[in-house]
Symmetry: C2
Subunit: 200 residues, 2 copies
């Protein structure tokens, strides 16, 4: 066995390191030169020297390559560790705003736009980005319910979606602004609600 099985549920779905490095390196150069629109599989084959057959063996589609590229080249949103769990919820949203406000944002917007015409891409980006973000934040919210701070009756999945959606919308429509201040204001608003009953 020449490669460690790093993904136990799909142990064969990982290319050799050389293939991976060449494909992701070429994808990054294409994206940096022309954005997500420049990342076609044909361009990737030409730029990487890796055959189309091999690209399609390891990646489902261009969205799949683009997501690997932003995660590996631009990093994932910062992991949030330690501290009071409600602070970690806020830090999670701030990290998401920083990440989407950086070079990964326009690539993700391009993938999402492309996905509107291609159901397979939509499934890829939903699973690998949006559902993953909701799951990460949802786990923190469950923890906050257990530790105290959040109401036991909340729907963690929907709450995660409500917290993340303004930032994800900002990626596409430029409102609200995609920054940490928006992230903090959204958390504050969703935490305390808008009803005047609380102060009555």
């Amino acid at each position: 066995m020449t490669e460690p099985l790093t993904e136990p549920d799909t142990p064969t779905r990982r290319p050799r390191e050389r293939v991976r490095r060449q494909v992701i390196g070429a994808a990054r150069e294409l994206i940096e030169a022309g954005g997500y629109a420049a990342l076609t599989v044909d361009a990737l084959v030409a730029a990487s020297g890796i055959s189309k057959k091999t690209v399609y063996r390891w990646w489902d589609n261009r969205a799949d390559v683009a997501l690997d590229t932003i995660f590996e080249a631009f990093g994932e949103p910062d992991a949030v560790r330690g501290g009071p769990v409600l602070d970690r919820v806020r830090h999670y949203l701030e990290a998401e705003a920083r990440y989407l406000g950086g070079p990964a944002g326009p690539v993700l917007a391009g993938v999402l736009a492309d996905a509107q015409h291609r159901p397979a891409l939509a499934a890829t980006v939903e699973r690998r980005y949006f559902a993953a973000r909701r799951d990460g934040l949802g786990a923190l919210l469950h923890e906050a319910v257990r530790e105290g701070g959040l109401s036991a009756g909340i729907d963690a999945d929907l709450t995660a979606a409500v917290l993340l959606a303004p930032l994800h919308q900002a990626l596409l429509t430029r409102y609200p602004s995609l920054d940490e201040d928006t992230a903090r204001r959204v958390v504050q608003l969703v935490m305390h609600g808008i009803s005047d009953r609380g102060s009555a």
Copy 2:
């Protein structure tokens, strides 16, 4: 003067009724046959019998035609009138979910996808759809603050964005589900917040 000045700030920006009817009718047929992707200006010229010059005289781009078409052919989201203002906030969100869950939704998703590559389209769809929805909901929220029910300290623009964003995200990523139940749950969540302080 042969035409009434229905738009005082831009009185010349309205085509003759015949031109309008032919262009919007052709756009609707193109959209119904092939979605927003089928609505190119060339296809519109061929299908409507109206010259490209005339189309561009009255519409900025294909997004502009698409938005007129969904508003005229599929109706605007239901107007919300009367009743307690907090009920009207909920009805506004429910109407938005119904509207985006109907035939207008995929067209708007197509416009928004297209806009990721074309800044002029992005400005058009932001102004004519997303900002208009936030303004409509924001006006209701201001009214609710005045009448009582909402906290005086809320930022109505951000609150409108937080309430609408899950539905607008659902249009593109299929989560949360785009229906009235989601609209009601989002209003409930944002109204009362998720902190356990309220019940402490």
